[in-house]
């Protein structure tokens, strides 16, 4: 009973900005992870939809492995597991893990969006004499991206929160900062609440941004 310290939430405003750099780091990991994920996702989606059997199999295997194992494990494999071949510092490790992980999910989002475009669009493009590749680029993908925006927004929010796993490999992002501040001040709850507030602010801004984008892209899709 002796070492129980009562909560003192009045410290939250004054300590709040001490987390700014950590929050920026969270944002960096997330952004770079998402960008990597988007690139990988597009490759995976096109790979999985490819007529080429082996390409399609490789894409499926990638999705199978990544979706079937925890992100934390993937992070450890990249940071600890690969050390006998290559040593990757914590920050890039976190980005790679988040990117590879999101690549699988975003790949499935893109694939679904591409397949949701009516086959008549591809036929119309091909009957103008477009190559398959150009039809994809000019006709199918622009429409598919629009449809992918809502599920992508969801995925981005998940990625933002998942970036907290980087705290386990000593990347000084929000969650690690919260734990450090907690242990140095013995005000765990107060510091963790600050962390929670930062996440809420960032996820709110993100979902508002996605919502706005959705509104702007709203183009009817009836054929």
């Amino acid at each position: 009973m002796s070492n129980i310290i009562p909560w003192d939430f009045s410290v939250i405003p004054e300590k709040f900005l001490l987390f700014r750099d950590a929050a920026l780091l969270t944002l960096e990991i997330t952004t770079l992870g998402i960008v990597t994920g988007l690139i990988l996702g597009l490759i995976v989606a096109l790979g999985k939809l490819s007529q080429h059997k082996i390409t399609s199999k490789i894409a499926s295997a990638y999705i199978f492995i990544i979706r079937g194992t925890p992100l934390l494990l993937q992070l450890f494999i990249i940071y600890y597991g690969l050390t006998s071949i290559v040593t990757i510092p914590p920050f890039p490790s976190a980005i790679i893990a988040l990117g590879v992980h999101n690549g699988a999910y975003i790949g499935e989002i893109f694939r679904g969006a591409i397949q949701s475009i009516h086959y008549g669009q591809m036929e119309a493009a091909r009957s103008l004499g477009m190559t398959h590749r150009k039809s994809m680029r000019r006709i199918i993908l622009p429409q598919a991206f629009k449809r992918a925006v809502p599920p992508l927004g969801n995925q981005f929010i998940i990625a933002l929160k998942d970036s907290s796993l980087a705290s386990t490999i000593a990347v000084p992002e929000l969650l690690l900062r919260g734990r450090q501040m907690g242990s140095s001040t013995f005000m765990y709850m107060e510091m963790l609440i600050i962390v929670a507030l930062w996440y809420l602010i960032m996820t709110s801004v993100l979902s508002y941004g996605v919502h706005r984008l959705e509104q702007r892209l709203k183009v009817s899709d009836h054929d």
């Binding site: 009516h118 008549g120 669009q121 036929e123 119309a124 493009a125 091909r126 009957s127 103008l128 004499g129 477009m130 190559t131 398959h132 150009k134 000019r138 006709i139 622009p142 429409q143 629009k146 183009v219 009817s220 899709d221 009836h222 054929d223």
Partner: protein, 251 residues
């Protein structure tokens, strides 16, 4: 109305199966330059499949297609070139919803043929005038009626300056009051000398604009002839039956 020139489109002994089901049975049609051929028949008779085999949206298992004397070998390279010469108009328009009307029309010229944008827009405007939609150039397809969409689709196909135009039930998805404007554009095209193969149920288009009417039944060409002959004195019982079901009284 028979033409003596070398046919611009030759369909030779086409056979097409979907699995076990044979939908085209040894179909051969020669289409002369500037000829308007209308293909009629009950649904499931194979007429849409026939059109789709001509520009290789479907692959026939047997037979050959000649366009302007060239035997079309279905390699990617050849097909991408040949399809530029074969305009296709679909039942459901298939306009590109993320592009304006003008964007739809110039997409082929600019991004397939490499025509400069300015020249393509001029061409586009001419074609939109032709189909009566020059004031809709900057509008998006979602704002258009079905008849307007189909007229844009026709302009889009014409923008490639094709040798042959294929129409796959171009008015079947339209409200009845919108059929006329599309048929009107098609009649005009026929008069200007465009070579056309039209799958349709609009018998008055066949009557007004066709040089030849082909009746397909269960994957074969059962009967063909001038519209006068086909509508007034069809030979086969199946043709008579089909026409009596589909023809309005006044024809």
């Amino acid at each position: 109305m028979t033409k003596t020139k070398e046919p611009i489109l030759q369909i030779n002994h086409l056979e097409k199966y979907f699995g076990e089901l044979q939908v085209l049975k040894d179909i051969s049609i020669d289409v002369a330059e500037s000829e308007v051929v209308v293909v009629i028949g009950a649904s499931g008779s194979g007429k849409s499949t026939l059109l789709r085999c001509v520009n290789f949206l479907e692959y026939a298992q047997k037979g050959s297609i000649y366009l302007d004397g060239e035997h079309i070998k279905p390699t990617h390279k050849v097909l991408n070139r040949i399809r530029q010469d074969v305009g296709m108009v679909f039942q459901h328009f298939n306009l590109f919803p993320h592009m304006s009307v003008m964007g739809n029309v110039i997409e082929g010229p600019v991004h397939v043929k490499g025509m400069p944008k300015k020249a393509a827009r001029e061409l586009g405007l001419q074609l939109l005038e032709k189909v009566g939609l020059e004031d809709k150039a900057e509008v998006y397809p979602e704002m258009l009626s079905g008849g307007q969409k189909q007229r844009v689709a026709i302009a889009r196909a014409l923008a490639m300056q094709p040798k042959v135009m294929l129409f796959d039930e171009p008015t079947s998805a339209l409200d009845p009051e919108l059929v006329g404007e599309v048929i009107g554009v098609m009649e005009e095209l026929g008069k200007e000398g465009m070579t056309m193969v039209v799958v349709t149920h609009e018998m008055w288009f066949a009557k007004e604009a066709a040089d030849r009417v082909i009746f397909m039944d269960e994957g074969i060409i059962l009967e063909e002839g001038t519209p006068e002959k086909m509508f007034s004195s069809p030979e086969h019982a199946r043709t008579k039956e089909f026409l009596s079901q589909i023809l309005p009284q006044e024809l």
